[in-house]
């Protein structure tokens, strides 16, 4: 596959690994946070950690819109399916996320509600057209990458005069979350895990551009490298971050130039601005209330806003006691630091946001990294077993 295979080449990986080893200063460590769940996934799925020197550590951030969605909002989605006889359309990721009372969208479907898994908002629109007598509600989640597709659907629904289509909007914003992490006490304090640099999100940036990150680099004096999604992109970006740190720079660099420009996709941005507005604050699971971090649908499009149409109430739900997600999401603790990890909390029975989606730090670690035995210096070396 073009633009994919070349960026997964194992031979190039070895050479890049050698370059990184040469560049990394052995007298210090480099803690690099990948904000995106996609980067977490790539790192674990390809075993990128094994090609990096020990003093370069990946810190997993909260870049998983599934993980950070508060339980109360999932409860709302379930209620929309159960109480209004509506067709509740959702991306596959949300089906198994546990909500209050051990419910989930999958279980709600099993109990008879009309929950439909769709690949695209276009599929939800199609269902609305084909079923004019049924209410079709789309459960919209995701960062800035996934928001323009929702905007298009609303505009198309308006143009077609659809009366039975609405969106339950849970879109959230990346820069706000990064800022929140950087400002949190554990990160600012010395002695706690420090984050030296960031891998900027790949595809959020294709929409919003690299410009929004310039603020962080400047304000918090941390380098940001917008990194592509493939494992070679991650390694090259690590090298660029290491070089910046060695040289005392804190700029925004773009490794993913084949898709990301400074300005991003202006057409998509304009569409989003036309349809959505900022919520004053929004709860992020594990992070608490984050100001100006989420979107709601503007009044002009309120007939497509499920929250208005169906009077969706605010539900406050609490995370499980003992769950260390808040610290793990900030990169302050590791999955293995949580008492619930692997005991009560597993992918089959997730307790907190870090385990619910395969992108979450705990889920990724469980699925891909569990075989690594932590060594005395806190690093993880793969347990290769032995061949008798």
């Amino acid at each position: 596959m073009k633009y994919v295979d070349e960026f997964r080449d194992g031979d190039v990986a070895k050479r890049l690994g050698a370059s990184i080893r040469r560049a990394a200063d052995t007298d210090r460590s480099y803690n690099l946070m990948e904000f995106c769940g996609g980067h977490t996934h790539a790192i674990f799925r390809y075993g990128v950690q094994d090609l990096m020197p020990e003093n370069v550590k990946f810190v997993h951030g909260p870049g998983c819109p599934v993980c950070v969605l508060p339980i109360g909002r999932i409860d709302n989605a379930i209620a929309l399916a159960e109480e209004h006889g509506a067709m509740l359309c959702t991306y596959g990721d949300m089906m198994r996320v546990p909500a209050s009372g051990r419910k989930s969208l999958l279980k709600t479907k099993a109990a008879g509600a009309d929950v439909r898994m769709v690949y695209s908002t276009q599929d939800a629109l199609k269902l609305a057209r084909e079923n004019p007598h049924k209410e079709v509600i789309f459960f919209a989640i995701g960062f800035e990458t996934t928001t323009p597709p929702t905007a298009v659907a609303i505009k198309q629904a308006q143009a077609e005069g659809l009366k039975n289509f609405s969106i339950f909007c849970n879109h959230v914003l990346t820069p706000a979350a990064i800022q929140h992490i950087l400002q949190s006490p554990e990160v600012r304090e010395m002695g706690a895990v420090s984050i030296d640099g960031f891998f900027g999100p790949s595809h959020v940036s294709s929409v919003i551009g690299s410009e929004p990150y310039e603020f962080f680099a400047e304000e918090f004096q941390k380098p940001v490298v917008i990194a592509g999604f493939e494992p070679l992109d991650v390694m090259q970006s690590a090298l660029m971050l290491i070089n910046q740190l060695n040289e005392g720079r804190h700029e925004v660099e773009n490794e993913y130039t084949r898709v990301v420009t400074r300005e991003g996709n202006l057409k998509a941005q304009a569409l989003v601005a036309e349809v959505f507005e900022l919520r004053r604050e929004f709860e992020w699971r594990g992070l608490g209330m984050v100001p100006y971090s989420a979107l709601s649908i503007k009044d002009a499009f309120s007939e497509f806003d499920a929250e208005v149409k169906f009077n969706v109430p605010k539900i406050v739900a609490y995370d499980v006691k003992g769950c260390e997600c808040p610290s793990i999401l900030r990169g302050v603790k590791k999955p293995t630091d949580c008492k619930l990890f692997g005991t009560v909390c597993t992918p089959e029975n997730p307790m907190g946001s870090c385990m619910v989606s395969s992108e979450g730090a705990c889920a990724a670690y469980w699925s891909y990294g569990r075989f690594r035995q932590p060594t005395a210096d806190g690093n993880n070396k793969a347990n290769q077993g032995s061949n008798a």
């Binding site: 596959m1 073009k2 633009y3 870049g63 695209s120 990458t145 323009p148 790949s202 959020v204 569409l271």
Partner: protein
């Protein structure tokens, strides 16, 4: 995050703002409502059924070259491996 994959535009339908894209021989109908000026054989970034951005061939080549730069320096400096 946001699983997105490069796909090649195979055909375009202006009226519905949609296109058929191919990944290898797997084809899917998607929306190009978020892009202007899409042509056949363009590569686009596909996410949840929408093309989000065109992929620049030139920049891709430049990035691949960047991966190899380090090796060239190593050879030049007669470095270790």
């Amino acid at each position: 995050m946001c699983l997105a994959i490069p796909a090649r535009v195979v055909s375009i339908e202006e009226a519905t703002e949609s296109a058929v894209v191919a990944l290898g021989n797997v084809k899917k109908t998607i929306s190009i409502a978020l892009l202007d000026d899409v042509h056949i054989d363009d590569y686009v970034l596909l996410h949840v059924g929408y093309a989000l951005h065109k992929i620049s061939e030139e920049e891709a080549a430049r990035t691949l070259a960047m991966f190899d730069e380090a090796e060239l320096i190593e050879e030049f400096e007669g470095g270790d491996s």
